[in-house]
Amino acid sequence: MNFWETVTGSDLTKEWKAFEARVEALPADYREAWEQIKVSVFPHSDFTGRNLTPILDGVLGLLEETAADGLSIHEVLGDDIDGFCAALTGEEGARSYRDRWREQLNRNVAKKLGQLGG
């Protein structure tokens, strides 16, 4: 990754385009699930989304393998796509922006209380 890519995120745009091209090749029910997976994984993105690309790359690999096996998306993920995504982001240790806000808030409150001489 060169400086220009780091600053503009153009490498990510490229990666995302490549993802979408792979998704195009999947059956319709898989594409539907992919949209849902993106929505439930997105809150775990860091500022650029760079932490999500390896996770999504792995998932896309799973979808490609199982589609080639002729499985329906329901056989692959069951009813609980959100649960699947929670397990994914949990395993990868991807923290959500909410975690960071919470930490920031806690820190600020602790600082304020410290200043009050508690």
Partner: protein
Amino acid sequence: MDDLTEMLKGTLEGCVLEIIGSEEAYGYAITRRLNELGFADVTEGTIYTILVRLEKNGLVQATKRPSRQGPPRKFYALNEAGREELAKFWAKWEYLSSRIDNLKESGR
């Protein structure tokens, strides 16, 4: 048997270790094996997240192999740490199941 999922959750990782312990396997094969054993609700997505965890914890060796149809598949085998983890799993399982059996017997 329905609603096994919750009870199975804590032990599924050990089951996956056992399956790949006897023979290198890929996600779909592991899922099918568990389905054949009677765990019908286990999906490939569940197994995938377990495999991601095992790989991250350094318990398995993953190898990409070309496949006849479609993209290459990732095959998983146990490494030394994985074999140790599997032995620990069975020790814990022995402990847990014998305690629960005791409880059941003493209640009769």
